[in-house]
């Protein structure tokens, strides 16, 4: 049974018809499925994909099967065949019938039986040097073919490794290499692999590995002799599926993120119920399955795939488990993002997509719970979901055989991507762990205290005025004397803001000064500043709200403000716009704002405000 990854957008009946037809080996069923696909809306059939195949043996009658497998990529396949033999002419002559079909990709299927019949069948009679010479000639022939083709065309070329010849492929493995053929083929195939590795345009179909995997049943000697058609009917579904997967990266960009559930995916058991001791993870059954799964995920990470964790659990339980279970391949720092909380997983995944700046279609989701998979599919249909059951082996196999991450190359950038993200992740660990910004801030237990300035705090106020550069709308460096003068007029407002959370008290971190105009109509925001370490928590909204409300209660009709640009305060350039003020004037680096009072200035929900200013 050969399992295709059939597009989720296809109707269920179509999915099962296609899968059933491919494995039935019945031409009628395969053609019926192709007709069904032709009736699907264009949008879910994928784009047209013209595949050209040059080959040394017959595959004509097997193209419907290949076409059906290709269609699941999805694409609308159109396969053209070069004539038997004449590889060079088909491939290199741009006027050949084959090249005139203008394929999007070209596959070369060949075997030793035709490429070098003497080597294929007479190797035992040949001297060892002649075998070596024959191998070198064949390598050079293929290398030249690739060289000449890539020099003149940009179409991707897929070359095949060479399987053992049909008459010898049934020999039991491990037998002495009597005829010297196995070592010769290893040499040839090694050279073909190198050609593909060294070129961005040439890729490899490991035909030899495929035939070895299927052994005797891959080749049908009868049909090979009768019609030079070696691929057996029994192995055809697998052959078609393997070939189709080869072209997948041309049609589907590889996924970039593996989003993992935790309980019963990364370890056996549920941490919240079974506790640390009850988890199954290790070298013994059944923990060895989960251990292998972790290692498989880690191997994807080594290729540049980002790992993220989506788990409905208490964060501390999970942290404790990762810290204390010995010898687990995966560590928390391997994850580019963590969401261990009780929110719905699609919300967490959306957040992560925004945070990593990646599209939802870059994500592959694994979860043993059908409910979670369904909910994800319902809310975020772009996310790829591995088809698994609760059986850990199906989960492991789904990841091992997953085609979503297929790509032809791993770039140097891919290799370092995971660790770059992991470092960012460490800096923001708690934030990541706690979900979206607002939810995270709620967990901090923030408390803002508004107070007036007295002799005891004056020093700190002047210090902030002198030092604060970034979150500072006007950068006025008032002195001790200036502040005392402002304080002397009861119509002026001078608010100090202190911030604390459940971890620490950060002390006074914000200052707002509003100076009354000559009439009682207007009051002007002279200074609004925040210490850097307090930014991003909503303290500025608290300050704004306080300024608005005190100015209103003092009877002013208008609140004005000024932003004075410096080389360092870019981050507050639009602060007053965000607060809803109107721009009234702009000269040089000064921009004036106005708002009528009373005005709406909502407080962030996640901050408890203690007002000791008015009292």
């Amino acid at each position: 049974m050969s399992l295709l990854e059939i597009p989720t957008a296809w109707p269920e009946t179509v999915k099962s018809e296609v899968q059933g037809a491919l494995n039935s080996r019945r031409l009628g069923a395969i053609r019926g499925a192709l007709r069904t696909l032709a009736d699907l809306p264009e949008s879910i059939r994928g784009k047209r994909f013209k595949l050209g195949i040059i080959r040394t043996f017959t595959i004509e009658t097997q193209l419907d099967s290949l076409g059906l497998a290709l269609a699941t990529l999805p694409c609308q396949p159109d396969i053209s065949l070069g004539p038997l033999e004449s590889l060079e002419q088909s491939l290199l002559d741009t006027d050949s019938d084959f090249r005139r079909t203008e394929p999007d990709a070209i596959l070369a299927l060949w075997r030793l039986d035709e490429l070098h019949p003497k080597l294929a069948f007479e190797a035992p009679e040949m001297a060892s040097e002649s075998r070596g010479k024959a191998a070198d000639e064949l390598i050079e022939r293929i290398a030249a073919l690739c060289r000449k083709f890539t020099a003149a065309s940009h179409v991707p070329l897929f070359i095949s490794t060479i399987p053992m010849p049909t008459n010898l492929s049934h020999q039991p493995a491990g037998i002495h290499d009597h005829n010297g053929l196995r070592s010769v083929l290893l040499k040839i195939n090694r050279a073909l692999l190198n050609i593909a590795v060294e070129s961005n345009q040439v890729h490899l179909f490991d035909f030899a590995a495929w035939t070895e995997q299927f052994g005797e049943s891959s080749i049908d000697c009868k049909m090979d002799f009768f019609a030079r058609q070696p691929i057996s009917a029994a192995a055809l579904p697998s052959f078609s599926t393997a070939l189709a997967r080869l072209f997948r990266p041309l049609l589907q960009p590889p996924s970039k993120v593996l989003a993992l559930d935790l309980d019963n995916v990364l370890w056996g058991g549920v941490i919240g119920e079974d506790g640390l001791q009850g988890l199954k993870i290790g070298h013994d059954f059944p923990g060895n399955i989960f251990r292998r799964f972790q290692q498989t995920a880690l191997n994807l990470r080594a290729r540049g795939i980002l790992l993220v964790l989506l788990s409905k659990n208490n964060h501390s339980d999970v942290e404790e488990a990762f810290r204390n279970i010995p010898d687990m391949p995966l560590k928390l720092e391997h994850f580019a993002a963590l969401r261990v909380n009780w929110r719905e997983k699609h919300q967490n995944l959306s957040d992560i997509a925004t945070e990593l700046n990646l599209g939802l279609d870059s994500f592959v989701f694994v979860d043993d719970q059908q409910f979670e998979r369904e909910q994800m599919a319902f809310n975020l249909p772009q996310v790829k979901i591995l088809p698994v059951t609760e059986d850990p082996l199906t989960i492991l196999n789904a990841l091992t055989s997953c085609a979503h991450f297929d790509s032809y190359r791993t770039s140097a950038e891919d290799l370092t991507r995971s660790s770059d993200y992991a470092m960012q992740n460490q800096r923001k660990e708690l934030e990541l762990a706690s979900g979206s910004t607002a939810e995270f801030l709620t967990t901090l237990g923030l408390r803002a205290t508004l107070s007036s300035v007295n002799d005891a705090t004056l020093g700190r106020v002047v210090q902030m005025l002198a030092k604060t550069n970034q979150f500072n709308v006007s950068t006025r460096r008032h002195t001790d004397a200036d502040i005392r003068k402002i304080l002397a007029d009861p119509r002026n407002i001078l608010i100090a803001l202190s911030l604390s959370d459940r971890f620490s008290d950060q002390g006074m971190i914000g200052l707002g000064i509003a100076v009354a105009g000559s009439t009682n109509e207007e009051i002007f925001i002279d200074t609004l500043l925040m210490s850097c370490r307090a930014i991003g928590r909503g303290a500025e909204e608290v300050m704004w709200s306080a300024l608005v409300s005190y100015a209103t209660s003092l009877g002013f009709r208008r609140l004005s403000a000024e932003y004075i640009a410096t080389s360092k305060n870019e981050q507050v350039a639009d602060l007053f716009d965000r607060f809803g003020m109107r721009r009234v004037d702009e000269t040089g680096e000064r921009r004036r704002y106005l708002i009528e009072l009373p005005a709406i200035a909502p407080l962030p929900k996640w901050i408890e405000v203690i007002d000791s200013y008015s009292t």
Partner: protein, 80 residues
């Protein structure tokens, strides 16, 4: 569907024609699509439909559907 109908149906689906147009006398001479590749397809289809394996020298003699029918019946596929 009896086995003769199955045989005609299998051949018809391989050649992409109406089974009504086929009978035991149908041969490469009377069926245009029954060329060498058509023969390869027909053999694969019949082996799948009847779950049999033909011997290589048997297929060399497949000159018409009647011969195929008798080979199938030698392999234990009953025809009335």
């Amino acid at each position: 569907m009896n086995n003769e109908q199955k045989l005609l149906q299998a051949a018809a689906s391989v050649f992409g024609i109406d089974p009504q147009t086929l009978n035991v006398d149908s041969s490469p001479e009377t069926v245009p699509k029954w060329d060498s590749l058509g023969m390869v397809n027909l053999i694969a289809e019949l082996e799948a439909v009847f779950d049999v394996q033909f011997d290589i020298m048997e297929i060399a003699d497949f000159h018409n559907l009647g011969i195929i029918k008798s080979v199938l019946s030698e392999k234990g596929i009953p025809f009335e």
